[in-house]
Amino acid sequence: MQSKPRQWQWAVPWLFLAPALIVFTWFKFVPIAKGMVMSLHNMKFFGPDEWVGLAHYERAISDSALHAAVGNTLLYVIVSTVVGGVLAFCVALALQDQARHVRIIRTAIFIPAVTSVAILSEIWRIVFYPAANGVANSFIALFYIPAQSWMADPDQALYVVILLQIWKSIPYNMVIFLAGLAGINRELYDAADVDGANVWRKLWHVTLPGLIPAFSVVIMLSFIRGFRVFTEIYTTTGGGPAGRTEVIMTVIFKTGFERLDYGYAAAVSFLLVAFTVLLTVLHITIKNRISRF
């Protein structure tokens, strides 16, 4: 429009950005800033908050309950990433065919990945019900294994919830691997055939190197998902039995919403954020290093 005064042109992008900026500011940036301030204070319900400096962060360093939760979270992240990644890679290899029936199977096994975590948790609680006639116990009874207590057993609970994470992430990772497999140059396989390479050599020298970007994405997403895990734990075991499945986020949630210790909860939150950012930077650095070769 020629008639529009030119001096208002600068406002156009800001008008388009305004709704996004409002929601991002009010529901993301303000809470982040508020959380940072909270982590330096003792929050009081009456009267002004008390400045405590880095005391909450110091407390986090020597909090043994938090350390146990960090240990559980690390185990959760590492086992679910490795097992979920490797199994998803195998499933992707088995289902990379473009035949119609394979496409249908791929669609069907993706259902857990699009279902709410809260629902998956309820299904998990039914499948791993700790009675002799529960689904999982009936299954292992076929192999003459005695009935287990699963999520009610302090020694098994964490592994059962890790299994839930693996179950949910395999279909998701599979799609990423399938996209990676589709991107591998077919001529490389033909060249390997000419050289007389067998299936395993082709897998090692063509498929795996071609899937490095896919592996990198899978590992990164799985790490980020794992460190922030909350719903999967809260809705299955709630951190129990005896705190054996407590993870960083459930500790933060309980500290904040049950013990109302907002300041300390905010401090632990920020340690988690800092750690996540560090991990992302590390990942990008390693990725760039690899792609340079």
Binding site: V30, E122, I126, W167, I170
Partner: protein
């Protein structure tokens, strides 16, 4: 490719195994929900012994599953629509304009992608309870508290920005010469050209909002505002409910997101790989 009989057999066994592992539990809750006799907790059936809709009827009317389903659908649909619109507008500015402060804005939005939403739960809870300036109302315990915090989603902004960047400048220039206003260019030139990306952003947005758990948990404490994922746990924890009825509620809760996925699979898969390759 020729396959020997044993290879074919191995494939069939593998496919069956995968289907049992990933779909079996869903089949089990479906069959159990339709079974007339009440099953013991923890038991799932392969096939209903005597078919009935009684548990669904009870779950719907007495357990009020419709209230929670309505809440979930309302939040997910309105949230998706607002999220896609707000993201598309922001993406238009970031992809098609050059202005001072652009780098700061896009970095700020993108940085929230790295931030685990969960860690701002407590300050977000306090923000929702706080009175909004000017209007002097608090969002806590309203539908707004369930919807507005998910409207800003960096993934959606990022995805749409990438696609809008790919629209040739000539098309925009031609429209401008014809006297089209900014809003007309946005609505009639850019948006139609990125329709597939809008679809992808909307599906992912819907599934993301549908999966929200911590937000509804902290945003409302009135039961009639609960979404279906939140109500599941409280139904299990504080009520004595027959397991078939509880399973029927679980089935009702599972259906919408699975239907959305099955109906819109193509856009979904293209988005998943685009997001994976770029992100």
């Amino acid at each position: 490719m020729t396959q020997t009989l044993s290879q074919k057999f191995a494939r069939v066994v593998l496919y069956a195994f995968l289907l049992i592992v990933f779909c079996g539990p869903f089949w089990g809750i479906l069959a159990t929900a339709f079974n007339s006799a009440t099953v013991q907790p923890g038991k799932l059936l392969l096939w209903p012994e005597e078919f009935t809709l009684r548990h669904f009827s009870y779950a719907w009317h007495e357990a009020k599953a419709y209230v929670y389903l309505f809440n979930s659908l309302l939040v997910a649909l309105i949230g998706t629509a607002l999220q896609t619109l707000v993201s598309a507008m922001a993406a238009y500015a970031l992809a098609r304009k050059r202005f001072r402060g652009m780098a700061v804005v896009s970095l700020a939005i993108l940085s929230t992608m790295m931030l685990p939403e969960e860690v701002i739960a407590i300050p977000l809870y306090l923000t929702l309870q706080a009175k909004i300036p000017v209007l002097d109302v608090s969002l806590y315990n309203t539908y707004f508290a369930l919807i507005l915090p998910v409207v800003g989603w960096a993934f959606s902004v990022f995805l749409l920005t990438e696609f809008m960047k790919a629209v040739p400048q000539d098309l925009e220039d031609a429209a401008r010469v014809d006297g089209a206003s900014e809003l007309q260019i946005f609505r009639h030139v850019i948006l139609p050209l990125v329709k597939p990306a809008l679809g992808t952003a909307a599906i992912f947005g819907f599934l993301m909002i549908w999966d929200q758990y911590l937000l509804p948990l902290i945003a409302v404490d009135k039961r009639e505002l609960y979404t279906i994922p939140v109500v599941l746990r409280s139904m299990r924890v504080d009520e004595i409910m027959q397991s078939n009825i509880f399973i029927a509620v679980t089935v009702i809760a599972t259906v919408p997101s699975v239907l959305v996925y099955l109906a819109l699979q193509r856009q979904f898969n293209s988005g998943l790989t685009a997001g994976a390759v770029k992100g």
